[in-house]
Structure formats: C-alpha cells, structure tokens
C-alpha cells in the first residue's frame, strides 16, 4: 500500500515539474521544492543501496523466485536502453548517411545515450546477485547465451559511446592530438556503434524467446527481437525531441524546431510500421482475440498500443500538430511512456500468470529508479554547463525573443489551439 502511495506521489511530482517546465510557469517556490524532492529521492536511494548490499535483494525489492526480474531490470535496464537508442540513430544519420543538418543535436544525443548506458551498467551491477563477479562474462564465455551477448554489447557499446562522447571533453581540455585521433576513427567507431546497438536492442527482446510458455501471448512472439529494435528506434527519436525541447527551456537557448519536426515525422512512420507488424504478428499467431478479453494483461496491452503507439503515431503524422512544439513534445512523451510501459509489461505484467501478480515493486526499488533518472538529468545539465555540447544557437538566438519556445510557429498554427494553451493555469 505504502508503495502505491509513494508511486502516485512521485508521479504527481514528476508530472507537475514537467508541466511547469513545459509551460514556462515556474512558481518561485518550485526550485527549492524540486531540489528537496531530488535530495529526498537520493537519500532514499542511498538507504536502499546500503541495505541491498548488506542484507540482499530480498530485503529491498519485491522480487522473489516466481518473479526473478523486477523494476530495475524492466524499467531501468530495458526501458533505459531503449530510450538511449537515439544515440546510434542520430550518429548513423550524421556520420554514415551524411545528413549533416542533424549535426547540432548530435552531441547532446550521444551524451544522453552515454549517460543512459552508464546508468544501465550501474543498475545491472546493483541488480545482479554477485555484483563483484560482474566481469565474469568477459573471461568465462558461454556463447549460447543471449545474456552473454547482452553483457558484451553493454560493455562494448559503452566504450563506443565513451569515444563518441569524448570530443567535447577533449576540446575543453585542449588535447588536440587525441581529438584528431578520435575524429579520424569516427566513422568506423560509429559503424561499430550501430551494429552493437542493433544487436543489443534486439537481444533484450531475444532474452524472452526462451519463455514461450511463460510470457503472455500478447507479447511473446518469435519476432520479439525485431519489435524491441523497431520500438527502440522510434522511442530514441522521441527522446531527442523531448530533450532538445527541455534543454532549450532550461538552458534558455533556441530550439532546433525543424530538426524536431523531421524527427517527429520519421518516428511516426516507424511507429506505424511497428503497429502494422504487431497486428500482423498477433493475427498470424491467432492471438488477436486476447486483445479484448478484458484481463489485466489485455488492458495494459491496449493502453500501451493505443496510448503509446497509435495515438502518438497519428498525432506525429499530422503536419499542423508537428508545427506546434508543445504538441510535438507531448506526442513524443507519449511514445516514451509507451515504450517504458511496453518493457515493464514484457518483464513484469506479461510474465505473471493470469491476474495474479507475483511481484509488486517496493518503494525502495522505485526510489532507486527515480534516483537514476534525476541523477542522470543532473549529470547531463552539469556536462552541458561545463562542456561545449550544444551549438551556440538554435534557429535563432534566445535573447531576441521573450519566449524561446515559440519560434514563429504561432503564425501558422490555428489560433484556437494556441488559445487552448492559455487556458491552462498560469
């Protein structure tokens, strides 16, 4: 019960903070409250960590032998990796396909992916039962295991991301020779990154190929690796959109609105592809009837597919909506929520027999997960502050207009929609 109150409270705070940021209504007391909330989360997370390492996973998590993987795997690792997919998509777009106009968002995207993978690595370290043996897969090979592939991909791709992230740091430190070396090797490194990402994203889905009798048929499919990869690509793009929007907001810089629109359109296409494949797969396996059977699984599946895939896909494919940054960001947030729900569904709800849940996350698991998100955000903001991550300006310098979030789109947008925003409490 306590857990649920804690979840709801945290969600409410997160939504409130996001709304305040999105609508640029920062009450004077928001800043201290945000800081206090974040500090509370970190203290709770620290407490969780101490108890986890001294008393074991059973003391702090709701996991048990019937549900061996919990929130840390489902939300932090699976969803975290999916949300970091923007890194390889944008890197490939710029360096392999030479679409250079995406260059302004390359560095922040790569940085996000790098931080995401670092957090995933830390989450894995905390979650495995024998943390100090984390290096075993490097030397004790068992190449028949998907988990072996996953481990290697995490380690290798983190290395690749570290190399891809290094130029801003090297620039700041003035290590020109090293910087030159990194620049020469860019393309091979990016290609390696794309391959490793593709393998890694899909292999997280492959992990579940081995449980045809356990994973609910709405999610189990021989195509799981493909679904994981495709959905991650769409979600990764949406992360880039959301991140550009909020960093423009927080850092008071201009917005790359044209790039964001293009990304939104690409994400819509991929989401429609995903939706079509998912439907075809369900039909081919004769599981379409399960969608409307009314069980917990079917409801969450509907929520995931309608709210996290179909609705944002429709929104993002409408040009007028793409022109409104807030709608664009709203739809992207839906996609992100949808993919988190999908990964949690696969790892938790879908693995539960019938309506009986074997596992309920504890408040400590949630606190640590929130600590990852907030910690990652703080590190990102610090890095952006001290390193040359963002280009000097976006579409136009932020100073020239009072609200950096409306880069001249109000003229093209129907006035009614703009008015709808003003209706929100200020």
């Amino acid at each position: 019960m306590n857990g649920w109150i804690f979840i709801l409270a945290c969600l409410a705070i997160l939504i409130w903070v996001a709304l305040c940021l999105a609508y640029d209504k920062r009450p004077r007391f928001l800043r201290p409250i945000t800081t206090i909330t974040v500090l509370c989360i970190w203290v709770a997370a620290l407490w969780t960590l101490i108890r986890r390492f001294s008393e074991g996973l059973g003391a702090v998590t709701g996991m048990n032998d019937a549900a061996p993987w919990g929130l840390w795997i489902g939300a932090d690792v699976f969803a975290g990796v999916a949300l970091a997919a923007g890194g390889f998509v944008i890197a490939a777009t710029v360096h392999i396909f030479r679409i250079e106009r995406f260059k302004p968002i390359l560095r922040p995207t790569i940085l996000t992916a790098f931080l995401g993978y670092m957090l995933v690595a830390v989450a894995l370290f905390i979650d495995i039962g024998r943390p100090l043996s984390w290096w075993h897969p490097l030397f004790m090979w068992q190449h028949h295991s998907i988990m072996f592939e996953v481990t290697w991909c995490v380690i290798l791709y983190s290395t690749v991301l570290a190399i891809e992230t290094s130029p801003p740091l090297l620039e700041r430190l003035g290590l020109t020779r090293l910087l030159k070396l990194v620049k020469i090797t860019t393309i091979p490194v990016v290609i390696a990154g794309v391959i490793l990402s593709t393998m890694h994203q899909s292999s997280l889905g492959s992990l579940y190929l081995i449980v045809p009798g356990k994973l609910y048929p709405l999610w189990y499919s021989p195509l799981l690796p493909v679904f994981f990869l495709i959905s991650a690509v769409a979600a990764g793009m949406c992360v880039v959109i959301v991140e550009s929007f909020f960093s423009a907001k927080i850092l008071k810089r201009g917005l790359e609105s044209i790039l964001m629109r293009d990304l939104g359109r690409a994400a819509a296409i991929i989401l429609f592809l995903y939706l079509a494949m998912k439907l075809a797969d369900l039909a081919a396996r004769g599981s379409l009837g399960l969608v409307f059977e009314g069980s917990l699984q079917s409801r969450l599946f509907l929520l995931e597919m309608l709210g996290g895939v179909a609705l944002p896909a429709i929104l993002l494919s409408i040009r007028r909506i793409r022109l409104l940054p807030r709608w664009l960001v709203g739809a992207s947030l839906l996609v992100m929520a949808g993919i988190v729900l999908n990964r949690v569904n696969v790892s938790w709800i879908g693995m539960s027999v019938s309506d009986q849940l074997h596992y309920i996350p504890t408040w400590m698991e949630i606190a640590l997960s929130l600590a990852f998100v907030t910690g990652g955000t703080v590190i990102f903001l610090l890095a952006v502050h001290y390193l040359p991550i963002f280009p000097e300006t976006g579409d136009e310098p932020a100073e020239t207009r009072p609200n950096p979030l409306s880069p001249g789109v109000h003229s093209t947008a129907p006035p009614s929609k703009a008015a709808a925003f003003r209706g929100l409490p200020r």
């Binding site: 390492f53 001294s54 008393e55 074991g56 996973l57 059973g58 003391a59 996991m63 048990n64 032998d65 019937a66 061996p68 993987w69 490939a92 360096h95 392999i96 396909f97 030479r98 495995i128 039962g129 024998r130 943390p131 100090l132 043996s133 984390w134 075993h136 897969p137 004790m140 090979w141 068992q142 190449h143 028949h144 295991s145 998907i146 988990m147 072996f148 592939e149 996953v150 481990t151 393309i187 990016v190 290609i191 390696a192 794309v194 391959i195 593709t198 393998m199 492959s206 992990l207 190929l209 081995i210 449980v211 045809p212 009798g213 356990k214 690796p225 693995m351």
Partner: protein
C-alpha cells in the same frame, strides 16, 4: 532397482563401468533396453529416476535425506506427526527437493490427494545451461546439471528461463548470493556409485533409479500391465525435450499442478537459432554501412573539390 553393487569401495569409477553396472543391476534391462523406444537414443544411458506418484506416501524421508547429503540447513519442520500435518514446503535455494500433498481430480471425477515430489527435472537438453552467460550451469558428462557458484554472477536468467521453475535464488544473500537446485547428487554419491540420497531413502519404492531407457521401459510396462491404475502419460518423456526424471500417475498430471504447457521440443534452439545468425548479420551490416559511409564521403569530397575548382576557375 536394486542398489548398484559393482563400484562399492572403489574410488575410480568411469562412466562406462558405472552405467554397465546400472544396467546389470536391473532385471528389466536384461530383457532388452535397446528395443525401448526412447525419444533420443543418445540419452538412453542417462541416469534417471522414475517417480510413481501412486506409491508415494508423503513421508518426506527424501527431503530429510537430501538436506543431510548436501549439507543444507534443516529449515522446514520435518518432525511433525506423519502424515499430512505439516505445512506446504517450497523449493528454496537451500531446499532442493520437496514433497507436498496436492489435491486433484482423477479422470473419472473422483477427488484424490497425491504426494508430489519436486526437484530439478534434469533436462536432457537443459535450458538453464544454454541461457547462463558464464557457464555456471553445466551438464555433466553423466547427465545431471551442476551449478558452480564460483562462476555465477547472479543474473537469475536461469530462474526466468527454466520451463519447470526449479532454480531458486538466495534473496537474503548480500554480495555473494547463490542459486540453488538439485544436482542429482552427481558429484558426491553418483560418482561413488551410490544412489541419489532421496532415492536411497525412499521406503516405498516410489522412486526408482536406473538408465533412462530402462526407466521408460519400466514405466511403459507398468502402464501396460495396469492400464486401469495409470494414466497413459509419462511426464518427462517428452516435456522440454525430455527429462531424466520421469513421473507416473493415476491422476492426469495437469490436475496435480504439473506444468502442462511445457513445449515438447528442446528449448535451447529458441535462442540459439537467433544467436547463431548474429555474426553473419553483423558482418552484413558492417559491409552495408561501411559502403554507404565510404561512397557518400567520397561523393562529398569530390563535390567539394569540384566546387573549389569552379571557384578557382571563376577567379
């Protein structure tokens, strides 16, 4: 089956001798184990146990013997009055076999209570071995699946993947938690030519140890001679590609809580079919992206050169 005799007192025991001893120890094997239609001939010699559910009285001697033989703590009350007054016992990382009374309905609708022993089924093609990233789960030469904590990283994929939900995790273990499951006494008793502790302790002959083909033969013989007593199903013959533990029952297995949705094909190919294609896919992607990047780069470079040349020309 009678106790294996030939190896007593000798520490040197190779597999062939041991198995020959096993075959010689049972009268049925002499009949002709080769004629038995084992689903996989290569697993005919795997040490196996036939559990006759109808013969189990639920005394839990096997649980006690298992704890003793494997130095596991005795944390389940096994001293309560027999029969049936004790609590439900669950498999734990330090409790590798349990016997529980299970209520189930026979095919003719009569409700009965049967004592069901659970432990690792010792799959012939084990899922846990295939999913373990570090080879902490291994199939021994004899057949039983062994666990090595020295290699384990505690990822719990074996627990997730096991079609019978057997491996258990030490949730209270801080930094060095372990996985626990029945290892068929392979390193200790089998290697010395002795029976697994549970089989040896069984007072009613509900557990019978022998070569897998012999046990299948025995099971079929029992079904054939007493068709009114047994359901015509040997649980473990085909489940998950076949297991070393085989069950006979008078009540349909799904009514007694046995997993009825286990695939009959071996599980490891489900992931290996994908995994084995990865090198080719990676090479193809490297070639594709390399070509694209190289050609686009070259075109850009030549465009840049042309642009500068025209600029020079115009100047």
């Amino acid at each position: 089956m009678k106790k294996v005799k030939h190896t007593t007192g000798t520490s040197e025991c190779n597999r062939r001798q041991f198995l020959q001893g096993m075959a010689g120890g049972t009268g049925l094997a002499v009949l002709s184990p080769a004629s038995v239609n084992a689903n996989e001939p290569e697993y005919a010699e795997t040490p196996s146990v036939l559990v006759d559910v109808t013969r189990c009285i639920g005394c839990r001697s096997c649980m006690r013997a298992c704890k003793q033989a494997n130095d596991l703590p005795n944390n389940t009350d096994l001293t309560a009055d027999f029969p049936g007054s004790w609590d439900q016992a669950d498999l734990r990382f330090d409790q590798w076999t349990v016997v529980n009374p299970v209520k189930g309905r026979k095919a003719d609708g009569i409700e009965v209570t049967r004592n069901i022993k659970s432990q690792c089924m010792q799959c012939l093609e084990p899922t846990c071995v295939s999913v373990c990233p570090v080879g902490a789960m291994t199939k021994s030469e004899l057949g039983p699946i062994l666990y090595s904590a020295d290699r384990c990283i505690g990822c719990r994929y074996c627990i997730m993947a096991c079609p019978f939900d057997i491996p258990k995790f030490e949730w209270e273990g801080g930094m060095w938690a372990v996985i626990g499951k029945c290892q068929f006494c392979a390193h200790t008793r089998l290697a010395e030519g002795r029976l697994p502790a549970c089989v040896e302790s069984c007072p009613t002959g509900a557990l019978k140890f022998g070569r897998r083909d012999t046990m299948l033969f025995e099971a079929r013989a029992r079904i054939k001679t007493q068709p009114e007593r047994y359901v015509n199903h040997i649980y473990g013959e085909y489940e998950a590609g076949g297991t070393a533990w085989l069950y006979l029952s008078d009540t349909p297995f799904e009514n007694l809580g046995f997993k009825s949705d286990v695939e009959t094909a071996p599980m490891p190919p489900l992931t290996w079919d994908v995994l084995s294609k990865i090198p080719i896919m990676a090479a193809a992607m490297a070639g594709l992206f390399g070509t694209v990047a190289w050609s686009l780069n070259r075109r850009e470079a030549s465009e840049r050169r042309e642009a500068s040349e025209t600029q020079e020309a115009s100047e």
